[in-house]
Structures are given as structure tokens and as C-alpha cells.
């Protein structure tokens, strides 16, 4: 049974595959036709094959439950890829590089002269109340002047097709391993489509990540000892930590594997004795890094690590304190930040944002809570936010009180009509909302993943894409502008066979 795209119930949203029911976009016309020709039964079969592959490959994420401790869950995945034409992607890529370049200059400035504050572009009170500003980092010069080496920025597309940056994750962004694994799964279950469309490859990421980290080594003459620092097996992203370590050929360490000696160098305890560590890709938050400098209760970190880092004996990626630019109120100033440091207009716009710290904005937000999404400054994973249209009066009252109490801690944005992508569901092929998280690497140069992780809200109508809250993901195809390979189309090639 073929798929009739005219039945596709996408109304009122921008769909990434179809301009309107029955009308594929110019750049996705061929793919829509191929998917239609495969038919629903075949797509469901491929979906099942993908789920088996994910189980076999052991692609998991960890969820806590009160009773059972941590549980490894199979990674939810949808087989229909999300397509972005290369032409559009190159613009996005340039915009992300611009953004991260400016953010790194911003962070460096905040820990040095604070020119942007003195020049009145960035309000002092925002800085003063930032929970991610680390006084311990003031005056520190990390290698190459870069603080956020790995950035994951979330992009969303609104009803009119505009792509916006929704937020920047500058602390320990996760998800890149799923981007890589999604590609492997898609190659397994759609080999023929894959060959035909030849989406641009994503698999360079681990080597690019390694090169980025290696470029930070304080001993440039030596082959750098790079390690991945994980909080341990119960962390929800442990799969990713161990995956990236394996892919880079780096050692996966926990805090207790490391120590800082009197020479301020950092060592790991190995069977052969102490081995000096040059670069730590840390996947634990600032406050747990070093019990001497931050949370003295923490046993996840390494006593003396900040001392080693400020002495330049070990590189940390991301640098401690980089999270200062990862605050949702700081986010609202990113267009000004880009303008200030680079003298350029932002290539990718921010989602229009109301800053509750400004009285007029706060007034507007309080009057329009039912239409807006309200976010606290320093939460991630969708926690603590209010989605106006889906909220109850009690929830709105609670957040209104919170905003009035601490306006600086809140921003609000219009509820976006996130774009959709056709998704295999129990009820057939239906639109589901997606976002996109590309990853940007910065050291001696800047590189952006080819596409990124497309996260999809698997529940009908839901806008929440977080895996901890019912989200899944899709492979993301950046299709070269030259279009599918010349010559045989899919259906022709299948008519050839043994005579």
C-alpha cells in the first residue's frame, strides 16, 4: 500500500517534507515520492528493523526511577529522516560559527575587563545575578582564549519557515552520540535510499572532537593524553561519555581516577603508575569539578583541578565558567553581543524574547502568560518552565509570583509552532514536532556538525522533545545541492534484475 501524501494531516505548521498536504517541497519531492512508493507497511517494517538494530547496538539512555535505580532504555528513534538542503544549511553553519565566536569573546571579556558591561551594552545586574558566573575564573587565560569548545545550540523553525536559535548549551551539551548512531541505524535500514540521496556525512565528528581537544594541550610537543571525565554509570548521558571516549581512543575516567600533584599537574592512576593528563573533556558540571574550589561535598570531581587549570597545566573543555553565557537571560542579549564584538548583524535570529527584568516586558508577560512560554534562567531539560497554552490557572499564578519575586530570573517567548516531520506512528504517518541541535567545536578553528541531532516529540501534539520526557530522534540529512545522483532513479534500478 503506497502512501498518499494528500491525506497527511499537517495544518497550521511548517512541515519539513511537505509544503502542504500532497505538495512536497521542491528539494524533497523525490524523497517524498520514494517514501510514498515504499508504502506504510514497508515503513513500519523498517521502523521495526531500526528498533531491533538499536537494541542490538545497545544504544541507550539512562532513566532514574524511584524503585529500580537507574535503567537503561533503548533510544527512541523514528526512521523517516529530516531533510535540510545544503544551501540552507551553509547559512545556518555560518550563523552558528558567528554566534559561538561572539559568545567566546563575551565569556573571555566577562572574566577580564568586562568592557561590554562598562560600555553599557550588557547590564551589570544581569551579570551580578548570574549563578553561572565563577569568580574563580576571573583573570584566567585558557588556551587559545576559547572557553566554550563544544557548544550545542537548539534551533527551531516557526510556522513561516524561519529558523531561530532557541538556546545555547555551553556547559556540557549532550546528544551528539545519538546523532552518530542515528546515521548508522539509517544506513542499515534504508541502504537504497541512502545511496541514492547521499546525505553529507556526519562521521567525522569524533576525530574533529579529538583534534579540538588535542589543540588545547599544554604540552604541544607530546602526543596529548586526552580523557573524558564522567560522573559515572548512573548519569543519564553515560552511554555518550563512554561512546565518545571509545570513538576518540581516549580514556574514560571518573573523578577518583585523577589527582593533582604538588607540581600542579593532573595525573590519572593507572596500573603502570601515574600518567600525566593534558586535556580533560569533562562531562560534569562546574560545581562538581573540584571540591577545593566549589562544592566541597562533591566526590565526583578532583581536588586541586582548578589549581592545575589556572596554572595552565591541564586544559578543561568546556572551561569552567563558560556556562555564564548559557543563561536564558544572557540568551536574550546574544544579538547585541554579536553586534558588539563582531560588528555584524546575527545571521540566525533569536526567538523574540521578553526580558522580565525590564518593567515593560514584565508587564506584558504577566498579562499574556496563557500565550507565552516562560523559562527560568538556569534550568535545562525543560524543567521549571511554563508552557502557557497548556497551563492551568494555578500554574500561571505560581509562575507569576515567581516572576515578580525575581524578575531577572525569567524570560518569556511566544509559543512557537515548531515545524513537523512525517513520523511513523501507530495511526500511520503523522506529523510530529521537531527541533535541531547542531554541535559547534571551537579551538584553533571552528567546525559545525553536518546537521545535528533532530529531536522529535513523539506524543501527538506535544512540543517537548527531551528524551527524559517522551522525546525521540531522527536522522538529519543535509542533501547536497546537486541533488540525487544522476541517472537511474530508485524505481528504475529496481526493475533491473536477473534476466
Amino acid at each position: 500500500m503506497g502512501i498518499d501524501w494528500t491525506d497527511y494531516p499537517s495544518v497550521g505548521f511548517y512541515d519539513e517534507l511537505l509544503a502542504a498536504p500532497g505538495e512536497p517541497r521542491a528539494e524533497t519531492e523525490a524523497l517524498a515520492a520514494d517514501l510514498a512508493a515504499l508504502g506504510l507497511d514497508e515503513l513500519v517494517a523498517r521502523q521495526e528493523a531500526a528498533e531491533v538494530a538499536i537494541k542490538e547496538m545497545g544504544i541507550t539512555f539512562t532513566v532514574y526511577s524511584e524503585e529500580g535505580g537507574a535503567i537503561d532504555r533503548a533510544w527512541p528513534f523514528d526512521v523517516i529522516p529530516r531533510v535540510i538542503p545544503e544551501r540552507e544549511w551553509r547559512q545556518v553553519e555560518a550563523g552558528l560559527k558567528q554566534r559561538v565566536k561572539a559568545l567566546n569573546l563575551f565569556i573571555d571579556d566577562l572574566y577580564h575587563d568586562q568592557r561590554i558591561v562598562k560600555d553599557g551594552v550588557f547590564p551589570e545586574e544581569v551579570l551580578a545575578k548570574s549563578v553561572n558566573f565563577r569568580p574563580q575564573c576571573v583573570g584566567v587565560d585558557p588556551p587559545l582564549g576559547v572557553w566554550a569548545h563544544i557548544c550545542g545550540s537548539d534551533l527551531v523553525r516557526d510556522a513561516d519557515g524561519t529558523l531561530y536559535v532557541l538556546e545555547d548549551n555551553l556547559r556540557v551539551p549532550s546528544g551528539v552520540s545519538y546523532m552518530l548512531e542515528n546515521r548508522l541505524v539509517t544506513k542499515r535500514v534504508f541502504p537504497e535510499l541512502f545511496e541514492h540521496y547521499a546525505p553529507l556525512p556526519v562521521d567525522d565528528y569524533p576525530s574533529q572532537l579529538f583534534d579540538t581537544l588535542a589543540a588545547l594541550s599544554p604540552r604541544p610537543a607530546e602526543y596529548p593524553e586526552v580523557v573524558v571525565l564522567t560522573p559515572g554509570i548512573y548519569n543519564s548521558a553515560y552511554f555518550e561519555h563512554s561512546y565518545l571516549a571509545q570513538q576518540m581512543g581516549a580514556t574514560l575516567v571518573e573523578g577518583r581516577d585523577l589527582f593533582v600533584a604538588d607540581d600542579d599537574c593532573c595525573y590519572m592512576r593507572t596500573v603502570d603508575g601515574p600518567a600525566q593528563v593534558d586535556v580533560i573533556y569533562r562531562r560534569i558540571d562546574d560545581l562538581f569539578l573540584d571540591p577545593e574550589a566549589f562544592n566541597s561535598e562533591s566526590s565526583l570531581g578532583v581536588p586541586g583541578l582548578m589549581r592545575a587549570w589556572t596554572a595552565g597545566k591541564v586544559a578543561l573543555a568546556n572551561a569552567p565558567g563558560a556556562g555564564v553565557a548559557d543563561d536564558k537571560v544572557v540568551y536574550a542579549f546574544v544579538p547585541e553581543i554579536i553586534q558588539y564584538y563582531l560588528g555584524e548583524a546575527p545571521i540566525i535570529p533569536n526567538v523574540p524574547t521578553y526580558r522580565c527584568m525590564e518593567p515593560a516586558d514584565m508587564q506584558y508577560v504577566l498579562e499574556h502568560l496563557a500565550e507565552l512560554v516562560v523559562k527560568p534562567a538556569n534550568e535545562s531539560g525543560g524543567y521549571g518552565m511554563l508552557v502557557g497554552p497548556a497551563s492551568t490557572q494555578a500554574e500561571r499564578d505560581r509562575i507569576a509570583a515567581a516572576i515578580k519575586k525575581d524578575p531577572r530570573n525569567y524570560i518569556a517567548q511566544p509559543t512557537l509552532s515548531l515545524s513537523t516531520v512525517p513520523t511513523v506512528t501507530k495511526a500511520g504517518i503523522e506529523p510530529r514536532h521537531v527541533d535541531l541541535r547542531p554541535f559547534i567545536l571551537s579551538a584553533d578553528r571552528r567546525q559545525v556538525t553536518m546537521g545535528g541531532l533532530t529531536r522529535v516529540a513523539l506524543r501527538k501534539g506535544s512540543l517537548v522533545v527531551n528524551s527524559s520526557q517522551g522525546g525521540g530522534s531522527k536522522d538529519t540529512w543535509i542533501l547536497p545541492d546537486s541533488g540525487p545522483a544522476e541517472g537511474q532513479s530508485q524505481s528504475q534500478s529496481q526493475t533491473q534484475g536477473q534476466a
Partner: protein, 316 residues
């Protein structure tokens, strides 16, 4: 290799070995009791004596009845030496070394742990016990074989074997100690059943058939002790375990101190004239051996494992 990873591999192997040995002694004791006259049989207390967990046992149970002891050894979560606890600890250790061991090993230990937990009730009943314990023993052996046959024979494999031989040597000395003590205690009435009991000692190590082949002599105290302590071909004898642990140590860096400790252990073992030792001397000898094994463990931990955490933490 990270010290923490080496330690996890070592304990993973020890816990698997511990689960297997515990399953063995329970099986053999059950069979032994069927062969001995009621009233004079040593009962189930010696099994708790072997594990050295009497204080803990008495805290939770009123008497050393079959049900109580079997539950304590098989499924009691409060007993860190129970099969349940050992498999759980093995699984937790394996979780952190999943990049070192082949995927199948993880699946196997995971499956074994789940089997042990889901069939606990079966293990406690007289009729279900045999099949249950056999499944546990063969499950443990599968893991050992799988690892030997598929993982890299590098430093990690040395720590794996080291853990296995340390645990096995320790358990063998415990079985010999407790069993021979109980043999002596009721010497008079049990004299006619001496052979049966020594056979049971051998059987708890799957050593009976090998003893027959190797010693070609009827089962009696002297040769049995020699076989389980000093035979260098039987893989569960103390001598064999010590020798193979020594060869593992030989491959590791910075091994001087550990080699000295194990050299002392091997010399003590070789020098003993076991058939001349009476029960009290034998017990002292075994005590010495166990202290030696303990010293060796301390040395291994001090040389290659991470220092113990300063803050309170749940043990591995």
C-alpha cells in the same frame, strides 16, 4: 589501564567465582546429608562456618536449619557473601568495564543475575535446588570461558585471572578447614563415614574424579589434603591457584613487592607435610595460608588499585 578499571575487573572475577563456589558447597552439603545417618550428621552450620559469616547469620536467624542456611547463602541481600549479593556485585562491576569485556559477557552476567533473582524460591526448595544451583554453576563457568576465549589477553585479563585464582584459593582453604574440623569433632561415631565426608570435600570442588585419576589411591585424609592443597595440575587446588596468580603477577608492572608476598605463600605451601599435621596444626596452617592470601590482596590493592576513598562510599 586505569587502576579503577583493573580493580573492577579483579572484583568482577572474584564475585563470579564466589557465586560459583557457594553454589558448589550448598550442592555438596545437600548430597552429603542424604548419605549420613540422621542425628550424627554435621548439618548446615559448617557452611556458614566456611564463609565466616556466623555473627551476621546469628543476628538474623534463630538456628542453623537447612532452610535458614540455604536462604542465607543463596538469596539473603543482607549477606554480602550470598550468591545474590555476589552476582549483583559482579554485575555492577561489569557495568563499568563494558568497554573492556565483550558485549556477550555483559549479557551473560546480566542474564545470570536475573535468573538467580527470579528463581530464588526454586533454589530454596529441596526439589528445585539441584537444577537451580547447577544453572548458576554452569552460568558462572560460561562467563569464565567466554572471557578467556574472547577478551584481549592484556593487563585486564591478568587482573581477571588474578581475581579468580585469589578467590578460588581462599575458598578451597576454607572448605578444607571447616570440613576437616567437623570431621574430627564427631570422630567416634562418624569414623565409618570418614570416606564419605572426604569424598564430599572433593566433590564440592568437582575434584573427586580428578583425584581418582591423579592419586590412584583410596580416598583418605592425607592424600586428599595433599591433592587440594599441593597438586599443581588440578585447577582448584591452592597450589595451582597460587602458581597461576604468580604468573599473572609476572606480567604486571611494578610487581616486585607482590611477587615477594606470593613467593612466601608458595614456599609455605610447598614446605607443609600435610599428612603429619593433626587437626589443630592443620587449622593453624590454613589460618596462615589465609593470612598470606589476605596479605597478597593488600599488596595487589596497594600497588595497582586506587587508594580507598576518603569520604564514606558504598563499597565495590
Amino acid at each position: 589501564m586505569l587502576s579503577r578499571v583493573a580493580e573492577n575487573i579483579y572484583w568482577f572475577a572474584r564475585y563470579i567465582e564466589r557465586a560459583e563456589n557457594t553454589a558448589r558447597i550448598v550442592t555438596v552439603n545437600a548430597n552429603l546429608l542424604l548419605d549420613l545417618p540422621k542425628g550424627i550428621a554435621p548439618g548446615w552450620a559448617p557452611l556458614v562456618d566456611i564463609t565466616g559469616a556466623n555473627a551476621l547469620f546469628e543476628e538474623h536467624y534463630k538456628d542453623y536449619g537447612e532452610r535458614q542456611v540455604v536462604r542465607f547463602l543463596l538469596s539473603d541481600e543482607r549477606h554480602p557473601g550470598s550468591i545474590h549479593s555476589a552476582l549483583m556485585a559482579a554485575r555492577e562491576n561489569c557495568r563499568t568495564i563494558r568497554d573492556i569485556v565483550p558485549r556477550e559477557a555483559w549479557e551473560q552476567i546480566n542474564g545470570l543475575y536475573l535468573y538467580a533473582r527470579e528463581n530464588q524460591q526454586k533454589g530454596i526448595t529441596k526439589t528445585g535446588r539441584h537444577a537451580y544451583l547447577r544453572a548458576l554453576i554452569s552460568g558462572s563457568q560460561t562467563i569464565v570461558g567466554l572471557l578467556d576465549g574472547t577478551m584481549l589477553h592484556d593487563q585486564g585479563h591478568n587482573f581477571l585471572r588474578l581475581g579468580r585464582f585469589m578467590e578460588r584459593a581462599d575458598m578451597t582453604t576454607r572448605i578444607a578447614d571447616v570440613r576437616s574440623a567437623s570431621l574430627l569433632r564427631e570422630a567416634e561415631e562418624l569414623r565409618p563415614f570418614d570416606t564419605i565426608q572426604w569424598v564430599s570435600v572433593l566433590k564440592s570442588m568437582t575434584a573427586y574424579q580428578m583425584y581418582r585419576r591423579s592419586e590412584q589411591i583410596r580416598v583418605q585424609r592425607g592424600p586428599v589434603l595433599r591433592f587440594i592443597f599441593q597438586n599443581n595440575q588440578f585447577p582448584r587446588s591452592v597450589r595451582y591457584c597460587v602458581e597461576h596468580a604468580r604468573s599473572c603477577l609476572g606480567w604486571l608492572p611494578r610487581n616486585e613487592a607482590a611477587l615477594r608476598v606470593i613467593g612466601r605463600l608458595a614456599r609455605n605451601l610447598d614446605a607443609a607435610e600435610l599428612h603429619r599435621l593433626d587437626q589443630i596444626e592443620l587449622h593453624a596452617f590454613v589460618d596462615d595460608l589465609q593470612l598470606g592470601i589476605g596479605d597478597l590482596h593488600q599488596e595487589i590493592a596497594a600497588t595497582w588499585f586506587p587508594p580507598p576513598p576518603v569520604v564514606e562510599e558504598t563499597a565495590a
